[in-house]
């Protein structure tokens, strides 16, 4: 059964230096509040796993938390580069960043395999590309019926998966809806999990066949209204596309980035009472 605790307690208890963590949410429901708490608590040497690193990992990488990044598309969606990610790869600033690069199709199979208790996932992928040269963990299997060769990727089994969702009930069951991405697969693949939610309610009122994460697969549920801002929570608030555009400028210089982080993250502990939608450009 999930414990319902504060984000700071959840991060303190469940995330350790050196962990492999997966903060998921495909554009929607990105767990910014939890990510900021990880930055504030100063975790180090993390392996960051995420299909689309987005601003949240750009910030973590820029703050020097990451030893390695596992990803499939590392841009600022619709805007351009993630400058902190680029600076880490191109110039090793603030520290060298190992990367393990897949495709979206490869990463979903790796999460699926993790969630399904299998050591590998199979896909029709990568053929003709240079990706297998860049990532030796892309291998192949032969179909025992047709002899056809298919791509294989190793399962992703994060130490901790962290996702944001619309709501939980008081027992810690969670409802996610809209663009559900790999929220469920990431939680099921992980050893531990943290789910932050917009609100905690008496009754989930989940439609039949909704994407529900039962309390008993979650380690901690944390109330975090606005916790996906500047991404969005369908039914609660829209994506702040303007902030995503502004991030291009904020993150371009190391100094601007660091002062922004100081002002908006380091000196602003998350409070359950205060929506997180407060990032200053």
């Amino acid at each position: 059964m999930a414990k319902i605790v504060s984000i700071s307690d959840a991060v303190a208890e469940l995330i350790h230096d050196g962990d492999q963590i997966a903060c998921e949410g495909f554009t929607h429901l990105i767990p910014f509040a939890a990510g900021h708490e990880i930055i504030r608590q100063g975790r180090r040497n993390l392996t960051l796993i995420r299909m689309t690193p987005d601003l949240i990992y750009d910030q973590m990488i820029g703050m020097g938390l990451a030893a390695k990044l596992v990803f499939s598309w590392g841009g600022n969606p619709g805007v351009g580069s993630l400058h902190r990610l680029r600076d880490a790869i191109e110039n090793r600033w603030p520290s060298p960043l190992a990367i393990e690069e897949l495709t979206h199709a490869g990463m979903v199979q790796a999460y699926n395999a993790g969630a399904a208790g299998l050591p590998f996932g199979v896909l029709r992928g990568f053929a003709g590309t240079d990706l297998p040269k860049a990532n030796p963990s892309i291998r192949s299997v032969t179909c025992p019926f047709t002899g056809e060769s298919l791509a294989a990727v190793p399962a992703i089994r994060p130490d901790v998966s962290i996702v944001h969702a619309q709501r939980a009930d008081r027992r810690g069951n969670v409802l996610v809806w809209g663009i559900i991405g790999v929220q469920k697969e990431a939680v099921l693949a992980a050893k531990r999990s943290i789910v932050t939610v917009e609100e905690i309610v008496d009754d989930l009122n989940a439609p039949p066949n909704a994407c529900v994460l039962p309390s008993w697969i979650i380690s901690a549920v944390c109330l975090a209204p606005g916790g996906a801002y500047p991404s969005y929570a369908q039914g609660y608030y829209d994506r702040d596309n303007r902030f995503y555009q502004s991030w291009d400028k904020i993150s371009r210089s190391r100094d601007d980035f660091l002062s922004w982080m100081e002002l908006n993250v380091m000196n602003r502990p998350h409070s359950d009472q205060e929506p997180a939608g407060k990032l200053r450009i």
């Binding site: 495909f26 554009t27 897949l102 495709t103 979206h104 003709g128 663009i179 994407c211 608030y237 200053r280």
Partner: protein, 271 residues
């Protein structure tokens, strides 16, 4: 009654026209999404748009900035997991046309969106693969849209992120790719198609007012020109007005703060 239009506009319109009504299109973000939605709002009202974030049958009223904007889901027939999109819908062979953008292409329409320079020590780190490699492999056919210049149309890719026609001829068949691969590359200068036999990109249409020299100067290989080269049909008044309305609404929507942010301005101004 000559319409003035930009190079980007004729690029988008030329791409949109290649999408037939009723087909199923897996749409990349940016230029592909703009052209696909223009098609849907003009000649192809029953075009089925699938985005990699999960929406099936999305009908957005403004262009999404990201691949997972909320309206893609609320306007869709249904939204499935990202895993299901790639597994059942793309790999399962349900996509007629995969529509991709690119940072660089070569003469066989292979695509690089990964690095400029060596992989281990890149000059420029690009965003990477995303959904494109498997879209390029598995969609029934592929359209590629990008602006044509000496940095984007290169002799040799530093990294093959998504396969086009490989080294040409029946390369795709040899390595067992299910889809037919790129059938057209649409740029701000013209439209290229792979030669039926060699699969090398061939300029088949040039946009009005663009010279062949200009196209050649923006291509870092010796470009094949179709003997029956045509001049692209300029955008119609209707196409232009729908496109501009779409872009205007989109610009307005993207300039707005997120719905959460403004309500908090007073409270959070700590500067």
């Amino acid at each position: 009654m000559k319409q003035a239009y930009s190079a980007d506009e004729i690029m988008t319109v030329s791409a949109a026209r290649l999408l037939q009504n009723g087909i199923v299109c897996f749409v990349g973000i940016g230029l592909p999404s703009k052209a696909a939605n223009l098609a849907r709002l003009t000649h192809a009202p029953d075009l089925v748009l699938i985005y990699e974030s999960g929406p099936i049958g999305a009908k957005p009223s403004v262009l999404p900035l990201s691949i997972g904007d909320g309206e893609l889901s609320t306007s869709a027939d249904t939204t499935v997991s990202t895993s299901e999109i790639f597994t059942f819908w793309l790999q399962g062979g349900r996509i007629d046309v995969g529509f991709l953008g690119a940072a660089q292409v070569d003469r066989f329409a292979n695509i690089n969106t990964t690095v400029i320079g060596p992989y281990e020590n890149p000059t420029v780190r690009l965003p990477g693969a995303g959904g494109a490699p498997e879209i390029a492999g598995s969609a029934g056919q592929v359209l590629v849209i990008l602006r044509q210049n000496p940095k984007s149309f290169v002799e040799r890719l530093d990294f093959v992120t998504s396969i086009g026609h490989g080294t040409g001829y029946d390369y795709r068949k040899t390595i067992g790719l299910p889809g037919r691969g790129p059938v057209a590359v649409i740029t701000d200068l013209g439209v290229l198609q792979p030669d039926q036999h060699s699969k090398e990109l061939t300029l088949i249409s040039i946009h009005p007012g663009v010279s062949l020299d200009e196209v050649r100067a923006n291509t870092r290989w010796e470009l094949k020109i179709s003997p029956s080269l045509e001049t692209s049909q300029p955008p119609t008044a209707d196409e232009l007005s729908v496109l501009r309305e779409l872009e205007q609404q989109t610009a307005l929507a993207h300039a707005r703060l997120g719905s959460l942010a403004p309500t908090l301005t007073a409270k959070v101004d700590r500067r």
